[in-house]
Symmetry: C2
Subunit: 409 residues, 2 copies
Amino acid sequence: MGNCIVAQSGGPTVAINASLAGVIEEAASSKQYDIIYGSLNGITGILNDHIINLSEKMDTIPDFLGTLKVTPAMYLGSCRYKMPHMSDDEAIYQQIFDFFEAHDIVSFFYIGGNDSMDTVLQLSLYAKEHNKKVTIMGVPKTVDNDLCHTDHTPGFGSAAKFVATMVKEIAYDTSIYPIESVTIVEVMGRDAGWLTATACLAKTEYGLGPDLIYLPEAAFSTDDFIEDVKKTLKTKSNALIVISEGIRDAEGNYVSASSSAVDSFGHSQLSGAGKTLEYLVGDKLGVKVRSIELNLPQRCAAHIASETDLNESVNLGKTAVKKALSGVTGHMSTITRTGNDPYTVTYDSMDISLIANEVKSVPRNYINESGNYVTSEMVDYLKPLIIGEPKITYKDGLPVFLDLDHLYE
Amino acid sequence: MGNCIVAQSGGPTVAINASLAGVIEEAASSKQYDIIYGSLNGITGILNDHIINLSEKMDTIPDFLGTLKVTPAMYLGSCRYKMPHMSDDEAIYQQIFDFFEAHDIVSFFYIGGNDSMDTVLQLSLYAKEHNKKVTIMGVPKTVDNDLCHTDHTPGFGSAAKFVATMVKEIAYDTSIYPIESVTIVEVMGRDAGWLTATACLAKTEYGLGPDLIYLPEAAFSTDDFIEDVKKTLKTKSNALIVISEGIRDAEGNYVSASSSAVDSFGHSQLSGAGKTLEYLVGDKLGVKVRSIELNLPQRCAAHIASETDLNESVNLGKTAVKKALSGVTGHMSTITRTGNDPYTVTYDSMDISLIANEVKSVPRNYINESGNYVTSEMVDYLKPLIIGEPKITYKDGLPVFLDLDHLYE
C-alpha cells in the first residue's frame, strides 16, 4: 500500500530507541508497508533527503530490534527544529509533502517531546487542509514527564531508575563518616519536578536516603531551606538533599541565576542551583558540604534502564502504527494507568492539538505542605515505573549498543 | 585461639565491602578465630570501644556475605584518622594494644588506602618493638589505583567500569546533533590518571567514544589543548574529551585552580578543571560546549560493579587472613598479573614498609607522545579489569544492599 517513515527529535532519552523498535516491529509485522524508512536528524532528514532503509537494517543486522531497544540516545539522530507556522512558510510544508509523495510515504511517525508534538500538529493540520492522505502520528518521549494526557512519558521511568539508584548509592557513600556533612544532588528539571521527586524511591525503611526534596512547583526560600537543613542535622550527621535544577523563589527567580560569578579570566560563570546552595550551606552552617550534578547521565544511562519503561515505550511505538493503519491521524499515542496494585496500563491515542505545547506540572498534593519533600501520593505514582531490569548484553565489560555510523555517512 | 577484628578506612569504593566479605569468609571457614569483630569507623572504633560482632551478623542476616559483597561504601563506616608517630603519642598505641588484649584479639585486618596502610605499618612496628603477638595485616583499596607493589587495587575496576560505561553512553548522547559541539568529562584523580584513562575502553571500533584524554602525569598546555580540539572538530562534529580533575601545567599549576571566581554573594568559587576548560573552549572556539563532573558516583555505583574487581577484592581479603594465620604480620595482600590473554592473577602479600606512603603514577609510555591520549599498553592493562557483571538482587526496582543502622546505634 506504500511506505512509512519514522524520525526522532529533541533531547535524547534511554527509551526513545525502544519506541523506534516498537514502530519498526509493528510496521513490519503488519505487512501493510513496503519499506520502513528512517529520516536522519528528525524532520531535517526529510528536508535534506537524508534517509535510511530500516527494513534493510532489520534484515541485515543480527538482533537489530533487541539491541535497538536498549541503545541510548537516537539511532536516527536528532534535531532542534521548530516548524514555522504554515502561514509564515508554506514552502516547507509543500517540500515535506512532496517528499512524502516522491517516496510513496503513507504514514509518518515522529517520536519526540513537546516541540516534536507541535510538528505533528502542524503537519496534520496542513494535511487536513490540503487533503493529503498521509497519516501523521506522534510518539511521546521526555525524561521530564511533562506531556499531558498520558499517565507518564517514555524515558522518564529509566531516568527515574538511574536517579533513584544513584541517590541510594550516594546515600551509602555519604553516610560513613561520623562527622556532620551535607550533600546536595541536583537533578534535571527546569520547570517540572517529576524526575527530582523520584529520589524519594531511594529512601530505605531505616531512614537512609534523601532527607529533603525540593521541586520547582513549590516556592523555594533560602531561609526556610537553611532551617530545614539545621533541623535535619539535629537528628542525623549526614543530610542528603535533592533539588531540581529549576527551583525558584515565590517571585519566580531561579536559585541558579542568583550566583553568576566572574572568574579570573573575566568569564561570567552561571552556577547551577546545587553549587549555589553548596556555597550557601558552607557559609551559613560551616559544615562539610558537597554538591553533585547528575547531569547528562540521567538521560543516557541505558545500563540501568527500567524494563517497565522500555516495554511501555515499545508498546507506544506499536500503538502509533496500529492507529495509523486504522486511519487515525494527528494523534499521539498515550498510556493510561488502570491499576496500581498490581500496576496495569492500557494504550490509546489522543488528539495532538490537546497535547502540543501543554505542560504537566507536579500537582501540589504530591508535595508536602512545607514544600520540602513529596507525599505518599507521589511515591505511589512513581513506584511502578522503575520496576524491572532489561537484559543487556555485555562485551569486554561494556553494554553492547547499535553503532551510529550511518549518521555520519 | 582467640578473636580477630577488622576495620575499614579512607574514601568509599564499590569493592571495599567485598574485601570485608573475603576477610569474614576466610576467618570463619578457617575455624581459627572464636569471634570475628568489626571496628566501627576505622581505627577509631577500637579507640572508642565501638565494635560489632560480625560472626553474629553472619549467623542472623540471610545471605549476609553475598549481599555485603555488592553493597557500596563501608559496612563498618570509615574515618579519616592519621596515626601519630609512636614517639609522639605512645599512649594511643598502648590503648590499641590494651584493647586487643582485653578482647583477646590475635589478628587485626585493616582495609584501606595509603593512610590506612601507614596505620598498619605503625602498628606492626609497635607490635614488633613491644613483642606483641597480634598479627597486623593490610588489605588494599582505592579507586585511584595508586598503591605500589600490587598490579591494581580493589575498587579501581568497578570505578573503571562505571567511567567507561558512562563515557560510552555520553558519547551516544552527544553525537546525535549534526552541529559542532564539545563535551568535557571530568574524572576523579588528583595525582594519578589511572581512572581517567579507563575512558579509552569506551572507544568503539567505528570511532565513537573519547577523542582526547588528558592525565595529570603529562603536562597540560591550554594552547595545545585548544589546538587539539580544533583538529578534532575538523574530522567530526562532536568532540568528546575526558580529563583528570588534577591536570596541571609544566610548572605544576592545577588547571582547576586558575579559575577561582567570586559570585554575587561575594563567595569565592573554585571551579573544577572541567568547568574551567568548558569556559575556555566557549571563549576560544565559540562552539556549543558542556562539562560533566562524574563526581561521587564513580566510587559508589555498585549497580555497575566489575565482577572481576569484586571477586579479586574478596580474594585479597581472604589472602590477608591466610597470611595472618600462617604468622605473617606487617604485610598488605597484593595481586600479581601472571597473564593477560587469558587474564590470570596470583595473590600474595608484601612488607607494608615498601608500600605505605608510596604512590604509583601512570608510566609515561602509557600516554602518547602528544600527551592527549593513552597508548595500547594502557588499553591492554585496563581491559581485563572491567570484565563481568555481578549478580545483583533488585527489589522494587532498586539494588538491594545491607542496611547500615548499626553505624548509628
